[in-house]
């Protein structure tokens, strides 16, 4: 049996190899995969609040004394290594809608992990609708990559009328971030 196999093996090999030789693969270059770049754009809602004039009315003498409240929240939408590698640019959009007949000054503060201030966006809310767009280009993007907390300091500016628990109106904040990614093959 072995002899027979030997006798015919050149024949088998011929057929087999002719198939493989006739077939070919035309100029393909798999190294192209190294140049793969995905540029996705991600929109994410950030902070929002709804402040009622009636609540502000609990602040005594709010027509003469400047009064401020602040809150800070951790904000890690993407993992640090992912951002570090892939985030190219970012934009923050803030929209204040104010139906309280008073002026507010808002400061949005970006902090790193150790509460060091990275950036401050100051917005004076002196009309019923105020929008602000703050962009971080490639040279400034490190601030966003390092950001771990976002805080808002909201100051009620002295003025008239004085607000009381029966006052009507509200101050709304809506905000979102647009993150421009550039995801490479490596």
């Amino acid at each position: 049996m072995l002899l027979l196999t030997k006798k015919y093996s050149p024949y088998f090999l011929f057929i087999l190899s002719s198939f493989f030789m006739l077939s070919c693969v035309k100029d393909v270059d798999f190294d192209q995969a190294e140049t793969l770049k995905i540029e996705s754009v991600v929109d994410v809602s950030l902070l929002y609040f709804d402040l009622q004039a009636s609540q502000v009315g609990f602040i005594p003498n709010n027509d003469v004394n400047p009064y401020s409240v602040q809150d800070t929240t951790k904000l890690e939408i993407f993992s640090k290594p992912f951002l570090e590698e892939n985030l190219k640019e970012a934009t923050f959009d803030f929209e204040f809608l104010n139906s309280i007949p008073r002026i507010f000054n808002a400061k949005i503060v970006l902090y790193d992990n150790a509460y060091n201030e990275l950036d401050e966006i100051e917005i004076l809310v002196d009309s019923p609708k105020i929008t602000n767009t703050t962009s971080y280009n490639e040279t400034e993007i490190q601030k966003i990559k390092n950001m771990a907390y976002m805080g808002i300091e909201l100051m009620l500016m002295p003025g008239a009328p004085m607000l009381d628990p029966n006052s009507s109106g509200e101050l709304l904040l809506k905000s979102s971030g647009t993150f421009f990614m550039s995801i490479d093959a490596d």
Binding site: D43, L47, Y48, D50, T73, L173, S175
Partner: protein, 473 residues
């Protein structure tokens, strides 16, 4: 990226060197003993045979619908990212990527109960790898574009639909020729599952829409399940290196894995010398996935508008709260990520074949050839074959027209033209040679694309060696 490249090379290699789940060339090619594997009721043309161990049947098939490797990787100077972009936008969730490979380890058949008996037994072992993926259209677009340009568009999670299995099959078949016109066969199968990964019944969506309290609302409604068996054991800490993994897999291949049962049926009906009709069903069976099972689920619903700062409460003395942690806790409660260790059952992909064949041309003198049964001695046959295979969404089907010819005593040739999802230009050629009781066969389809295999949407090759004890006249 290295690993991806290796996988791509591997896919290409398989595409070049092996054959598809639709074995249109092997079906009804009864000079080749392995045709019993696609129809246990096929006409038997020998007293006995044995496959040369590990070389009796090597089969592989790679298929991608719509896009070929060449479309992506041709060295044509076109920017690669433009080609990726084209691929992302031209593929949809009905497009398929599949790999199928089988290697026979043992295959033996013989007549039982004396020379004139009508009964025939065959048995053997083969190993099979099967990966079937529907293109996850929505998830690919979400990853590629992001949600920014897709506000209001729900991304459908049911597009995630993938199944992969690696198993060993032990089988024994019984064939009976009832009379001159009719024979039938049945093959029992014992599956030893090595690895199974299956995620085919997902639902839900992710959508970013305009919000009420904030600019956007992000909504995730998810019922996603990934079932695995034989996977968690491979990533345990004491599994050290490829040698350990191989040892574990070897053990599972030999009935140490997840056990299942299946059956094949087949018939051949020959109303006259000139007409033959055949049909078969393969792999009507299941595997009970019990050992080393892990099922991951993500089931829940949540709408997120961002982080609410409770200034009202702060002013009235409610104090600060940890907004972030509260949000995370809420989301985690809405999506209880779960790993379940319950066993589950997978159905094997069922294959159906049917064919009708007309024999014609000069009858050969029976002493010309010592390897045919002597009954059907027409040298030509033409016919039609239908193939269908069950999958999680809908069956895959193919229609084949074929011409078969006996050339001298030593050579049998079958050519096929097949139409299916992958290609409308699939021409195949099969050769079976018979010298001194040795049978060598080679079956390859998509010959038109052989000049550039990288551009083939589907290619398969099967070959093997057998030793055949011919029927004595």
């Amino acid at each position: 990226m290295r690993i991806n490249q290796v996988i791509l090379y591997l896919l290409l290699f398989l595409g070049v060197f092996i054959n598809a789940q639709n074995k249109q060339l092997l079906y009804n090619f009864t000079d080749i003993p392995q045709s019993l594997m696609v129809n246990p009721g096929a006409t038997i043309q020998n007293r006995a045979y044995f496959g040369i161990p590990a070389l009796s049947g090597i089969y592989a098939n790679v298929g991608t619908s719509e896009i070929s490797l060449y479309d992506l990787f041709s060295d044509d100077g076109v920017d690669f990212n433009a080609k990726v972009r084209n691929a992302v936008y031209s593929l949809n969730n009905n497009d398929i990527q599949r790999v199928n490979e089988q290697v026979e380890i043992l295959n033996v058949g013989f007549k039982i109960g004396g020379l004139f008996s009508k009964n025939y037994v065959s048995f053997g072992v083969y190993q099979e790898l099967n990966v079937f993926n529907y293109w996850p259209e929505d998830l690919a677009i979400l990853a590629y574009e992001g949600n920014s340009t897709n506000i209001g568009r729900p991304f459908n999670l049911s597009h995630l639909n993938v199944k992969g299995e690696l198993l060993t099959v032990f089988h024994i078949g019984f064939h009976r020729k009832v009379n001159e016109h009719f024979s039938y066969g049945i093959r029992g199968k014992l599956y030893s599952g090595i690895i199974d990964i299956s995620s085919t019944k997902n639902s839900g969506y992710f959508v970013t829409s305009e919000g009420t309290n904030n600019i956007y609302t992000h909504t995730l409604l998810s019922d996603v399940k990934v079932q695995t068996s034989g996977y968690s054991g491979l990533r345990e800490e004491d599994v050290d290196g490829a040698a350990d993994v191989l040892n574990i897999l070897k053990n599972r291949a030999l009935l140490g894995g997840n056990i299942g049962l299946g059956v094949d049926f087949g018939i051949t009906y020959t109303p006259s010398d000139q007409w033959t009709h055949t049909a078969s069903i393969q792999d009507l069976g299941y595997i009970a996935q019990k050992k080393d099972v892990e099922t991951y689920t993500l089931k829940g619903a949540y709408s997120l508008e961002g982080i609410n700062l409770p200034f009202d409460a702060i002013i009235t003395g409610g104090g600060l709260s940890d907004n972030w942690q509260e949000l995370i806790d809420e989301i985690e409660a809405a999506f209880p990520r779960d790993t379940i260790y319950n066993s589950y059952t997978t159905m094997r992909p069922v294959k159906f074949n049917a064919a009708t064949m007309y024999n014609f041309g000069a009858k050969r003198r029976s002493n010309d050839c010592n390897c045919t049964s002597g009954k059907n001695d027409y040298v030509n046959s033409v016919g039609l074959q239908l193939f269908a295979e069950s999958h999680s969404r809908y069956p895959q089907a193919a229609l084949t027209a074929f011409y078969y010819r006996k050339l001298g005593s030593a050579l049998r040739v079958k050519t096929t033209y097949t139409v299916d999802k992958f290609s409308k230009t699939n021409i195949g050629l099969g050769l079976s040679t018979h010298f001194a009781n040795f049978n060598f066969y080679l079956l390859a389809d998509n010959l038109l694309e052989y000049y550039n295999l990288a551009d083939a949407n589907n290619a398969s090759l099967q070959f093997g060696f057998n030793y055949i004890f011919p029927i004595k006249d």
